[in-house]
Amino acid sequence: MTSFESRLPAVASHGVDHGMDHGATDAAQSAPPPPAWTNIHAPDALRATTSDAERLAPVGRWRATRAYLRNPTAVIGLLILAVVLAAAALAPTLFPEDPLAMVDRPLQWPGQNPDYPLGTDALGRDVLAGLVHGARVSLLIGAAATLVSVVAGVLVGATSGYFGGRIDDALVKLVEVFQTIPGFILLIVTVAIAQPTIPAITLAIALVSWPAVARLVRAEFRALREKDMVMAARGLGYGHTRIILREILPNALPPVIVMASVTVATAILMESALSFMGLGDPNTISWGSMIGAGREMLRTAWYLSAIPGLAIVVTVLALNLIGDGLNDALNPRLSEGR
C-alpha cells in the first residue's frame, strides 16, 4: 500500500481535465460506498479504486522505461536519434576535412560519383560531409537552447506557481508579454541585434522557448502545492527551497520532460529556418544554410535543398516520436485507450 500512496500525487497531477476528475468524484460518491478504510484521509483516496491500483501496476522505477520500450514507434524514434547522434559524434573522424572546403567538380548528382554518394554542391563541396557536420550544429543548438529554456522556465514557473500573489502576477505578465510577441519575429530581431554566432543563436532560441515551459511548470506547481504531501513537508518544517526542489519538482517533472523533447525539435526547426534565411553562423555548416545555398540552384539541382531538408525532417520526426512515447509512458492515465 505504501507504494500506491506515494505515487498517487504524481499521477493525479497529470489530469489536465479537472472536469473529469470532479465527475469521477461524483460517480464515486453516488456509487455503492467504497470499502471503509478509516485510516485514509487524503482527498485523493476517495476516488481511488482497486482497479486504479491494478492498472498502475507494474510498480517500480522501471515501469516507465518498460512502457516506453513496448511502444514500437517510440523505439524507432530513439534509434533514429541514436544514428544522428552517432553521425554528429563521429563527424571529425569520418570527414576530417573542412566541410566548407571544395573537394571535387561542382554539381555532381547523388550517385554520379561513388566518392561522393550524395553528390557535390555548387561550389564543389561534399554534400554528405556537410550533412554529417551539420548534424553537430543542429543537435548542439537544439539541446543547449532546450537546456537553457527548461532551466529558465522551471525557475520562473516554480517561483510563480509556488509563491503565488504579487510575484505570480508579475511573472505571469512577463510570460504573457513574451507569448504575445510573435516568437519567430522576435528571434530574427534578436539574432540580427546580437551577432550570428552559435551561442547567440542558442540564447535567442531559448529566449522565445522558455515561456511555454514556464506556463506548464506554473500550472503543475499550482496544482501540486495544494497536495497533502506538501502540507506534510511544511508541517515537518522544511524550507521553501527544499519543498520546491525535493517535494514538488520531482512530481512536476514528467510533463516537463515530454515538453523538453518537443522543444529540442522546435529549436532545431527554428535554427534551420534562421540559417536558411542567412541569419545563421556563416562560419559553420548547418542543414538550414545548406538548404539556403541550394535554393539558388532549385531549378537545376533540387537535390541540394532536398537532402538536408530530409535530414531535418527525419531528426525532428524522431524527437517528436520520442516525445509521444515519453508522454504515453510517463502519463499512464492519459494514454489509456489511445
Binding site: M20, T180, P182, I185, I188, G337
Partner: protein
Amino acid sequence: MSAPLILSKSAPLIAAMSARLIPSPRVLKALRRSLLQAIPTVLIIVILNFFLLRLAPGNAADVLAGEAGAATAETMAALRARFGLDLPLMEQLFAYLGNLAQFSLGQSPRYNMPVAELIGQRLPNTLILMLLALGGALAVGIAAGAVMAAFAGRWTDRALSVLALLFYSIPGFWIGLMLIVLFSVKLGWLPSGGAETIGAVHSGWDAALDRARHLVLPTVSLALFYVAIYARLTRGAMLEVKAQDYIRTARAKGLSPAAVTIRHTLRNALLPVTTMAGVHLGGLMGGAVVVETVYSWPGLGRLAYEAVMGRDFNVLLGILLLSSLIVVAVNALIDLLQATLDPRIEVR
C-alpha cells in the same frame, strides 16, 4: 444507476446555444476584462521592443551611409539629426510613445514614408495568407482529428497519426521549396512566387484567379504544420469527450453514431481547439515570415526581414506592435467566443 447525474451534463451547452445571439452581461464583462488586461501588456511590449532594438549595433543612418558608399561626418550628423537618432534615449522613447498616442507609427528613414502606410500596403497580403492557412488548417485538421478519434487504435488512426507527426516535423520553408520543385518546375501547374503575374493585364475573374493561383503553394506550406497540430488536438479532445457520461446518454437514447460524433462529441471537443488557434496566431505570423521569403510574397514578414537588415527600427517597432496587437485582439475574441459557448467558464 446514476441517471440524474448523466442528464445534468449536457444542459449548459444547450443553454449556451440558445443564448448565443444576445451578448449577456457576463460576456461583456469578459470582453472588458480582456481589453483592460491587454493595455499594460501592449505598453510593456512597446517599451521592451524599443530598448531591445536600441541594443543593436548600427542604425539606419549607418546603413544608408554604407549603401551610399561614402559619407562625411557632416552628412552622418545631418542624417542622424533628421531621424532623431541624436537625441538622448529616453527622449527618443517619449517621442515614440507620443507619436503612438496620436496613432502614428512614425516615419521610416529607409523608405522615406510613414510606417503606417508601409505596413498598410503589406498587411492585407499577410493577413490573407495567414487567414487562409489558419482556416484551411482548422478545417482539414479537425476533419482528420475526428476521423482519427472515430477509428482510434485502428489502422486508419495509426496511419493518420504518423502522417500528422510527419507534417509536424517538416520545416515550412523546406516543404515550400519542394512544392515549387514539383508544381512549378516539374509540372508547371502553379507559379513559383510573387502575389500576381508581373506584366500581365488581368481584370475581373482573371485577376482573381491569377491571385488565387499564387496563393495556393504559400498557403499549403504555411498550413501543413498547423494541420498536424489541430488533427492531434481534435483527436485528443474528442477521445476525452467520448468518455463523458453525456455521450453515453446520447447513445443510449438511440441517436445514430454520426449524430453523436458530430453534434455531441465534436462540438464539445472544439473548445480546446479554438483556444489553441488563438495561441498559434503568433506562431503563424512567424511562419509567414519564412514562407514569404521562400515565395517572394510581398507581405509583412518580408518587410520585417528587410527592416532588420536595413536597421529600420521604426518599421520593426511598428510590425512588432501591430502583430502583438493582432494576437491580443484575436485572443480577446476567443475569450469572448468561449464565454459565449460555455457558461461554465469562470469570468473573473
